[in-house]
Amino acid sequence: MVRKFLLLRLVFAILSLIGATTVVFGLSHAKEDPINLFINADGYFIAPETLEALREKWGLDKPLVIQYTTWLGNVIRGDLGRSVASQRPITTIMKERWGATVQLAVAAWIFGTFIGIPLGVLSALKRGTSWDYVARFVALFGQSLPAFWIALVGIWIFGVWLEWLPVFGRGDTEPLTERWKYFVMPTIVLGWAPLAGYLRITRSSMLEVMDSEYVKLARAKGASSSKVIWKHAFRNALIQPITVSTLLLAGFLDGAVLVESVFAWPGVGRVSVEAVNSNDFTVLMGTVFIFTALYVVMSFITDILYTVIDPRIRLGTEVD
């Protein structure tokens, strides 16, 4: 059963990737002449014959289906094409920028999870106290504040006014002891929204579990308070936060684009914004592919986790 489920998810993951790239490929032909996306004319006149030659060279004169399968074939062989603007291979660009995004994402994920979930538990256990209010306040702001604005306010307060933290880049040339400072603001800004999400969900599912019959039974049997909380309640309450991780992840990837753009973080998200500014369609297409792949892989991992943690879960039922 589990194996079948995972196999289905794998098929679905591949379908998602094909779906996403099809959409983007379709978009590239939404305008009358896609060749304009692949050349960087910059106002220079290009002879019609040259255009024709390029069109043939890049296969843009062929039917859309052929173009797409050719592109997909190249991608499978690890070739994402070349950047329109710099003519460098996109895989090289991605390899250079990849690490920075992963570092930031992992830092923000740790921040969001390891503060959000404990704070959610605390908020549920101490319901109605000032702990609870503080936690809910944090969650409320995390869900209502635009990430890029928090980033700017942070830059203004901690960078410009107090001069405590650097405001852009990853500090690659700095010594290691100084480098962590570059991570502080981007991590908090990127991690705040998932933190809020985890907090709310953990709180509500913890409240629900604490109210359940089996927790009451454990209490009645005389299990110690901490044992009831951590062994009986917490482990069951964890299921919901894990279920929604995929949803949070999607927001996470969008957030990475914004945060990297504000803090000039040298990652893949920033590449995509730069690509828009320089009209670099092929690079943008590459980043869409990478981000979708990332999402699909991560949600696949979540699915596996999910079956490991809770064998009861009836496959195919959705939890909102």
């Binding site: 679905f12 379908l15 998602s16 990737l17 779906g19 996403a20 959409v23 983007v24 978009l27 590239s28 939404a30 305008k31 996306l37 409320l140 869900q143 209502s144 504040l145 635009p146 990430a147 890029f148 604005w149 700017l152 306010v153 830059i155 203004w156 410009v160 709310r200 709180r203 509500s204 409240l207 629900e208 109210d211 999607a250 990837l253 969008d254 684009v257 914004l258 753009s261 504000v262 995509s272 914004v273 690509a275 828009v276 500014n277 009209n279 369609f281 943008l284 297409m285 980043t287 869409v288 981000f291 979708t292 999402y295 699909v296 949600s299 959705e318 909102d320």
Partner: protein
Amino acid sequence: MSTRIDFTLAEESRTQRSNSPVAILSSGWNFLRRWPVIPVVILVTLLLMSIFASVLAPEDPNKQQIFASLAHPAWDDDYYASTSGKFAEEKFGGRYILGADEFGRDVLSRFIYGARVSLMVALVAMVSGMILGAWVGITAGYYGGLIDELLSRFVDIWNALPFLLVALVVSITIGQGLLIMMALLVMLTWVGLVRNIRAEVLTLKTRDYIAAARIAGASDLHIMFRHLFPGILNLLMVLASLRVGGLILTESALSFLGVGIPSRIPSWGSMISDGRIWLDQAWWISFFPGLGILLTVMSFNFLGDWIRDKTDPRLRQSK
């Protein structure tokens, strides 16, 4: 019997407490907690502000006045004292209430017009997304089987699309504009609704009244529109009010990146982006639109929570 005693006790304690100022304060607080007064006031103000933007805004939001570049907000007396007479012909004692940006455009006027854009885009996208989502959700839930399977998988695949990046792609392949922005947000909204609506329809369609309608010879379309749609309306309202805030955030994020609403139309997101490079000299350019987004989104979230708690106890988060 016991309820009567409880009632009289409650009555008694209420009369006892209502005299002290603390009691008045606490009953006021309880009223605020029970009814979403503050969010409604904020949202109604913003709505009125955006409807009457042309009357309320002290300036044309795109009027550039180079001499007023980075003019400070009105409460900065030192600044206006040092530039006496410079803005004599302007309204409000020659001061810019919330300051001006680098081109001397009035921040307050841009803020007011920006509210119009944010609210309009989000509400139009929400309503269109609701219609599309309800339609797909009802179809999937009602017919079930292969149609349901296909639609549900399609929704899953759609969810895997990195939305922001697709929006970036659209901005360079198709272009930018209000309509494109709305279309993008609709694309984001409808998928989020399908699952919930489908689940609701799955339970609704087993009810007796649906079976009765079918026996009476009602067509599929009739059942879907006349019997199922009213049944999910409640859920739809709750979901919509909970998610409008997210749409406003997304719109502002896209405008901030410069791929949303074209820059000739003032919007909160692009205002924040404009003020980025002036943070150290003119914080007000970015600060006020951000505050606007915060207040709007927070109000919608509060209102959504409230509507959810009032109408659908099953969706309620434990309090």
